[in-house]
């Protein structure tokens, strides 16, 4: 392939950021996310072990399920003995907990927060609303399946799940990370167009960059 052809393809691959005004487009990245292949076998195993030992989740209560995160942090269910802690911003955290139902307005914020998180990142979907809509399946404002908008690694069923169930969910996530199966971030990068299509279908006023690091 010629060098010009490669440049042409790269130009086509760039994100348009059409939701932004002309002035602000140059302030944001137009590069697509790329999937990260695993390193060599033993190093990756060691890294995965390390990742599983310190899960920092984003303290963003997107629905009613977030009330179950508070008792997790206090003395009775003390989550910090598992090496898990809450962080205030997406830039510092590695686990995103979707706490229950997500309205169309919240999905916009969820997508933005998820994309700002540093990799490797994982998503736990809490409650039956995230799985199939739960009791809000016929609502005009609440989405039914969160996994069409961001990739989900672990589901915790229940309405609402008890803190014990959330601890079990975290342990399940640790298992998945250690075996290298929690690759939601790569799934997002590979099926980027499909996820963006779904997101733009419900977020009608798209006034943010297409992919924001």
């Amino acid at each position: 392939m010629k060098k010009e052809d490669i440049e042409k393809i790269e130009e086509q691959m760039k994100l348009a950021n059409e939701g932004l005004p002309e002035k602000e487009r140059q302030l944001f990245s137009d590069a697509r996310p790329t999937s990260v292949p695993p390193l060599n076998k033993y190093l990756e195993k060691f890294l995965n072990w390390g990742r599983a030992q310190s899960l920092w989740f984003l303290g963003f209560g997107t629905g009613c399920g977030a009330v179950e995160l508070r008792p997790l942090m206090t003395s009775r269910f003390d989550i910090s003995r598992y090496g898990i802690a809450g962080r205030p911003t997406p830039r510092q955290s590695g686990v995103f907990i979707i706490g229950g139902y997500a309205s169309m307005k919240t999905v916009k914020r969820i997508v933005r927060s998820y994309e700002q998180m540093q990799g490797p990142k994982f998503v736990i979907a809490l409650g039956s609303c995230t799985i199939n809509g739960g009791m809000y399946y016929d609502s005009y404002n609440t989405i039914n399946r969160i996994d069409h908008y961001i990739p989900v690694d672990v589901y915790i069923a229940g309405c609402m799940p008890r803190p014990e169930a959330i601890i079990a969910g975290f342990n399940k996530l640790k298992e998945k990370i250690k075996t290298g199966k929690a690759d939601g971030m790569n799934k997002y990068a590979e099926n980027f167009d499909w996820y963006k299509k779904n997101q733009k279908q419900i977020i009608k006023d798209w006034n943010m960059p297409d992919f924001n690091w």
Partner: protein, 185 residues
């Protein structure tokens, strides 16, 4: 309270309804609403606007607005109901009387499509960002149809009638009790 209602009845035409000792309702015509609200606020001590809400009466082609007032001195809730046209839904803004009423009016504008001319920020979106359909709290809006068209359903969802399901699972030998009352009663 009865004296107060009589005082209002001297001035304008109203229907009053007593629900409890501390809860009364007044039906009033659309043209008298501003007079009544400002009279109650300035002269009778109903200084607190608790909420402003709407009910859709699709059968009569009307919206019912309820202004809920509260008097701190005599500790009485007073609801003022007014019917407005549903096709050309428009109501006088009361943000000059109660400053916080603009937020209720913005909500009603978005969820019911009622216009409040000159109300501040009334066109800003409240919970629905970029909504293109008819206002969702109107009763001719089909939420299930909208949900199944817009969002992705996960297959395998099933529902049971709770009465039938419990009878089948728990009370198999359940016998329907005989009806003591006659049908005509």
């Amino acid at each position: 309270m009865e004296q107060l209602l009589n005082r209002i009845k001297d001035k304008i035409e109203i229907e009053s309804l007593k629900k409890r000792d501390d809860l009364y309702f007044i039906n009033v015509k659309e043209e008298h609403i501003i007079f009544l609200l400002s009279y109650l606020k300035e002269h009778e001590g109903f200084t607190h606007l608790a909420f402003l809400q709407a009910v859709d009466f699709q059968e009569y082609n009307l919206f019912q607005l309820t202004y809920m007032l509260y008097n701190y001195n005599i500790k009485v809730n007073l609801g003022i109901k007014v019917m407005i046209d549903r096709e050309k839904a428009e109501m006088v803004s009361i943000h000059k009387l109660w400053n916080h009423a603009w937020q209720y009016q913005r909500e009603l504008h978005e969820l019911f499509g009622i216009n409040f001319p000159n109300s501040p920020n009334v066109n800003e979106s409240f919970v629905l960002e970029g909504w293109e359909d008819i206002p969702p709290m109107r009763r001719d809006f089909d939420t299930l149809k909208y949900s199944s068209e817009t969002f992705y359903q996960r297959p395998g969802r099933s529902t049971n009638d709770p009465k039938e399901y419990m009878r089948e699972k728990l009370y198999k030998n359940f016998v329907e009790p005989p009806k003591i009352r006659k049908e005509n009663d």
